[in-house]
């Protein structure tokens, strides 16, 4: 009996602990609107009533919890709500790794949010499902935005003659090179061509054991596509109808052979074959001489290795020129949204030049072509090289079956680089599989 009292006391302590915590927690954002909205939805209230009064739209995103989410929550949303008194915005930060699963589950239950900030490679898939609103039909002023944004970033929203979203931010990968290692190995400046890249690698290799010329995390599209494109190859034909003759074409083959040579010579960090690589640590500790990185790299890296001497340069050029890969996010609206007009207002707000430029200050590269001329961008320490690279950067195949397409050539590239299959077996086979996926 005594012991069970102890147990009860313990439970009591835990509960009161929870209450004390609750009491000293900072005041949380009022949720009454969200709750009323939720109850309204559960009770199947007619939506007209909700429209007439104040409406709440839900916006799911993967902004970083440290800087970007507070900017959205504490600065942008209050501004938007002040200028749109009838619209409340409820932002929901979702960890990137779990975003797809949470969203797919919500779609299956008919409870998708009004808007999401989606990785550009997901949009065609969601559009193909019929989950998204075609914005070019829904927004009468769509062409204004269509003309204002970078075409490469816009293209990621296109499927079956419609645009299902607008780009929100963009990025690409540029060559990051280690000046300390370059100096030690006698490499003169960043390589601008594939030949120079190879020469640099020979010199780096001479530095000794455990020194790598280049590193990347695997053979997925984000890693290999810049090489394929720069060598003049491609994954599919321009109309995205077939991969045969492209993914196993001579230029793509040259790109893969180049990468395989890097692996075989020991220029490439072996992490590309599996297990990935701690590229930032290796770069900072002078084990890796070159990596490809996006605009998030400089600020974070400066925190880790404040004194590191490094430079940024374009992707080395091959037969196709210096071509990198477009990344970034789009904003898309769901068919399941009950407040499409209000959601469209928020899209307009997020794409306004003022908001776009302020996002750039937080590290999100703008998608507005006009913003390039602005002081914010012109005076920025490193956006210039990324924008230069974006001029030729290409988007990964915008197709509903993208996830499977990528998986197919990721595996094929991996087995070719590991030496377990010939190029023809691996990438030729992958091309045939992808032909089938494209035909569906």
């Amino acid at each position: 009996m005594k012991s069970s009292m102890k147990l009860l006391t313990l439970m009591g302590i835990l509960v009161s602990g929870a209450m004390i915590l609750g009491a000293c927690a900072p005041a949380v954002a009022p949720t009454s609107e969200a709750e009323t909205q939720e109850q309204g939805e559960e009770a199947q209230q007619p939506e007209v009533q909700a429209e007439a009064e104040s409406v709440t739209i839900q916006f799911w995103h993967t902004y970083s919890i440290e800087t970007e989410t507070p900017f959205l929550q504490d600065v942008l949303i209050p501004e938007f709500e002040a200028s749109h008194p009838n619209i409340k915005v409820e932002q929901v930060q979702v960890p990137y790794d779990e975003f797809r699963r949470k969203l797919l589950t919500a779609i299956s239950g008919g409870t998708a949010p009004d808007l999401i900030r989606a990785d550009i490679i997901w949009v065609p898939e969601f559009a193909d499902m019929g989950a998204l609103v075609a914005l070019d039909e829904f927004m009468p002023d769509f062409s204004t935005y269509q003309d204002a944004v970078f075409p490469g970033a816009l293209a990621t929203n296109f499927l079956n003659d419609h645009y299902y979203g607008l780009p929100l931010d963009t990025n690409t990968r540029v060559l990051v090179y280690n000046n300390d290692m370059f100096t030690a190995a006698g490499v003169q400046g960043p390589p601008t061509t594939m030949e120079e890249f190879l020469t640099a690698c020979e010199q780096i290799k001479a530095l000794g054991e455990g020194k790598y010329c280049f590193a990347d995390g695997g053979t997925y599209a984000w890693a290999v596509n810049p090489w394929i494109w720069s060598f003049g190859g491609d994954v599919t034909d321009p109309d995205i109808t077939m991969a045969s003759g492209f993914l196993d074409g001579p230029n793509t083959q040259a790109a893969y052979e180049f990468l395989k040579n890097l692996v075989d010579q020991g220029y490439m960090h072996p992490g590309i074959l599996g297990g990935g690589v701690d590229a930032w640590g290796g770069f900072g500790n002078d084990e890796i001489a070159m990596i490809l990185e996006g605009p998030w790299f400089p600020p974070i890296f400066a925190g880790m290795f404040p004194d590191k001497d490094y430079g940024l340069a374009l992707m080395p050029a091959g037969e196709g020129g210096p071509v990198s890969v477009v990344g970034g996010e789009d904003i898309v609206m769901f068919q399941q949204s009950q407040n499409k007009e209000a959601s469209a207002e928020f899209i307009r707000f997020m794409l306004s030049e003022d908001v776009q430029l302020r996002w750039s200050e937080v590290g999100q590269l703008t998608v507005l072509a006009s913003a390039i001329e602005s002081d914010t961008i012109q005076n920025h320490p490193f956006f210039g090289i990324f924008l230069e690279q974006l001029k030729t950067a290409k988007a990964r195949t915008p197709h509903p079956a993208w996830t499977k397409i990528e998986e197919t050539y990721n595996l094929a590239g991996g087995s070719y680089l590991a030496g377990s299959a010939s190029f023809e077996e691996a990438l030729g086979g992958a091309a045939i599989t992808i032909d089938g996926l494209l035909g569906q």
């Binding site: 069970s4 147990l7 313990l10 509960v15 915590l21 609750g22 409820e90 589950t105 299956s108």
Partner: protein, 279 residues
């Protein structure tokens, strides 16, 4: 093995040596985590690990505790975990008692089908569970999470408790029945008090599961004020790079209640064990 006064000295030294060696292997990753949590800008984990970082700082703990709504999530987790454990233990004890003490048609089939559930991988159930939560209006509700958690923990708890209840002396119960007590009195006055060790064990096992649960919590809850702690920790994982110092600091804060409870309960149920059961 039993205590032996003759084996003091070299043999005991040897035992301690092995035990301490083993403990080091068990604890090194944890120490590594602690050390990293005192380091700023730990996007890359230092290797080889340093026990004491160069410029130790408490900033990660402060930042974890104050970023977003960490404290709200902590409180939510406390509420969910405590209520879930109490309900899970009570409900499974009732079920276990019925299985242990009564005869009724279909008993063993029912018991076995509950056990089968232990063996079915539950990740695939996430979409049906979500549809159910939506249909019952349990989305965005801590109460909804509690119901799912309790249900998930029922099979193992019932299984463990039934085994224990069957070892309780039947004579006591018969005596109470003769004295005019009903089964509910017997359950609350005799069975539960005598079963403290078992109840403590299922409590800690259940709690471990609830405290870390992530998939249901993330999927069911859109309302940011109703999220639980594992989601707060996952939110510190960035899309392009993760500050591990921050993640580790947040995880360490989250571990405090669990470690505290474990230390308290382990004494409790070991003590209860030798007394109540063997007596």
């Amino acid at each position: 093995m039993g205590q032996k006064t003759s084996s003091m000295g070299a043999a005991t030294m040897f035992r301690y040596l092995i035990l301490i060696g083993g403990a080091i292997i068990m604890v090194v990753p944890f120490l590594w985590m602690v050390s990293t949590s005192f380091k700023e800008y730990a996007y890359v984990i230092e290797f080889p690990p340093k026990l004491i970082p160069e410029a130790p700082t408490l900033n990660n703990f402060v930042e974890a505790w104050t970023t977003g709504q960490f404290q709200v999530y902590f409180k939510n987790s406390m509420i969910v975990a405590v209520i879930s454990v109490v309900l899970a233990v009570l409900i499974s004890a009732m079920m276990a008692y019925a299985f242990a003490r009564f005869r009724f048609p279909g008993k063993e089939i029912l018991f076995f089908s509950i056990l089968l559930l232990l063996m079915v991988p539950n990740i695939i159930g996430i979409i049906p569970q979500f549809l159910l939560a939506k249909a019952l209006g349990l989305r965005n509700s801590l109460f909804g999470l509690i119901l799912f958690y309790v249900a998930t923990s029922l099979p193992l708890n019932t299984f463990l408790l039934r085994g224990f209840f069957e070892t309780l002396p039947r004579e006591l119960e018969d005596a109470m029945l003769i004295d005019g007590a009903n089964y509910f009195t017997i359950f609350t006055r005799m069975v539960l008090p005598l079963s403290k060790p078992a109840l403590a064990t299922v409590s800690i096992f259940s709690l471990l599961g609830f405290w870390d649960e992530y998939i249901l919590a993330l999927t069911f809850i859109d309302d940011q004020t109703k999220r639980t702690l594992p989601i707060a920790i996952a939110s510190f994982h960035g899309q392009h790079g993760t500050d591990w110092g921050l993640v580790f600091a947040a995880s360490l804060i989250a571990m405090i209640p669990i470690v505290a409870l474990y230390i308290v309960l382990q004494r409790y149920f070991t003590a209860g064990l030798t007394g109540a059961i063997k007596g």
